[in-house]
C-alpha cells in the first residue's frame, strides 16, 4: 500500500512538472502575441501619423501652386479660425475654396462667394491637431501639428504679382 502511494506521488510530480512547463509555454506565447500586436499597432500608428501630416502639407502646397495667380490667394480669419481662401477669379460673385482647421480635421469647401460660410462647413480632408498659416509678403509658411504634438512646416512662395504688400493686401 505504501509503495503504491509512493509510486502514485512520483507520477503526480512528473505530471505537475509537465503541466507547469506547458503553462509557462502558453503564458510566454500569449506575451509574445501581445508584444507582436503592440509592435504592429505602433508601426501602423506611426505610418498613419506621418501620412496625415505629410499628405496635408503636400496637399496645401499643391493647392497654392495651382492658385498662384494675381490676387487670388488670401488668408482671412473667420470666428477666430485662420482660413486660406483661394479664389477662382477676381469677381466678387465667383467661387472660392476655403481651407481651414476645425475640430481635429483639415476642412475644404468650394463654394460661391455670394453664399455665407461658417466654420464647420465643407469636407473633412485629413485628421491633424493644428494648422497654422503665417504669411510674410508673398511667402506663406504652413505649420501642421500631429496628434503627438510634432510640428512640421513647409514654405511656399507665390511668384505672381500683387503679393509684395502681403497676402491679405493682394491686388488682383
Amino acid at each position: 500500500m505504501g509503495i503504491e502511494k509512493a509510486v502514485s506521488k512520483n507520477s503526480s510530480v512528473d505530471v505537475l512538472c509537465a503541466l507547469s512547463l506547458f503553462l509557462v509555454f502558453s503564458i510566454s506565447s500569449l506575451i509574445l502575441i501581445t508584444i507582436g500586436a503592440g509592435n504592429y499597432k505602433g508601426i501602423l500608428g506611426e505610418t498613419n501619423r506621418s501620412f496625415n501630416v505629410n499628405s496635408s502639407l503636400h496637399y496645401i502646397i499643391n493647392k497654392l501652386h495651382s492658385y498662384d495667380r494675381s490676387g487670388l490667394v488670401s488668408i482671412i480669419e473667420i470666428d477666430g479660425t485662420q482660413v486660406l481662401e483661394l479664389s477662382e477669379s477676381g469677381d466678387i460673385s465667383g467661387y472660392h475654396t476655403m481651407i481651414y482647421h476645425h475640430d481635429g480635421y483639415i476642412y475644404e469647401l468650394l463654394t460661391s462667394k455670394t453664399l455665407s460660410f461658417k466654420i464647420g462647413d465643407g469636407e473633412q480632408i485629413l485628421p491633424v491637431s493644428e494648422l497654422v498659416f503665417d504669411a510674410s509678403g508673398n511667402i506663406i509658411t504652413i505649420e501642421i501639428t500631429d496628434s503627438d504634438s510634432i510640428t512640421k512646416s513647409a514654405v511656399v512662395c507665390l511668384k505672381s504679382v500683387g503679393y509684395e504688400g502681403g497676402i491679405n493686401n493682394a491686388q488682383g
Binding site: V15, A18, L19, F22, F25, S26, S29, L32, I33, G36, A37, N39, Y40, I43, L44, T47, S50, F51, N54, S55, H58, N62, H65, S66, Y67, D68, R69, S70, L158, K159, S160, V161
Partner: protein, 161 residues
Amino acid sequence: MTKKKYHGVGIGSTSIIMIFVVLCLTTFSLLSFSSANSGWKFAERSSDQTVRYFKAQNAANDKLAEIDAFLYDISANEDSYFFNMPSVALISGVSFKESYEYFLVSYSVPISTKSVLYVELEIPFSPSEERFVITKWNTKAEEFDYNDDRMNIWDGLNIEE
C-alpha cells in the same frame, strides 16, 4: 482492476499553440512591413513630384529669360517696340495676345503627363523699367484635345450601282 488514466497534457496541444502563435506573429509582421512599405512608396511619389515641379520651374525660368532677352532687345527702339512685340510668338511654345491695357504672353512647361506649369506675363504697350509682370505661375491639368474624338462612319463616296 481499473486502469489508471493519465491525467496530464495531451500530445499535440503544444504544437497547436505554437502554430497559432507563429501564424499570429507572421500576420502581424507582414502587415507591419506592408504598412511601412506603402508609407515609403508614398514618400517616393511625393519626392518625385517635388523634383518634377522644380524641374518644370527651372524650364519656365529659362523660357522667361529667353522672352525677357527678346523684350530687352526690342526695348532699345521705342518706335518699333509695339510692332515688334508680336514676334515674341516666334519663341517656341510662346503664345501672344493683345488686350486693351497690355500684351499677354503665355507659355506652358510640362510637369508630368497630366499637369503643366502655366506662366502668363503682362507686358506694357511701351518700354518701361519693368519689362514684364508675372500674373500667373500656376500648375494646372494638361488640356486634352477632345475635338479629335471622331469616328469615321462614311467617307462620302458614291457607290456605283
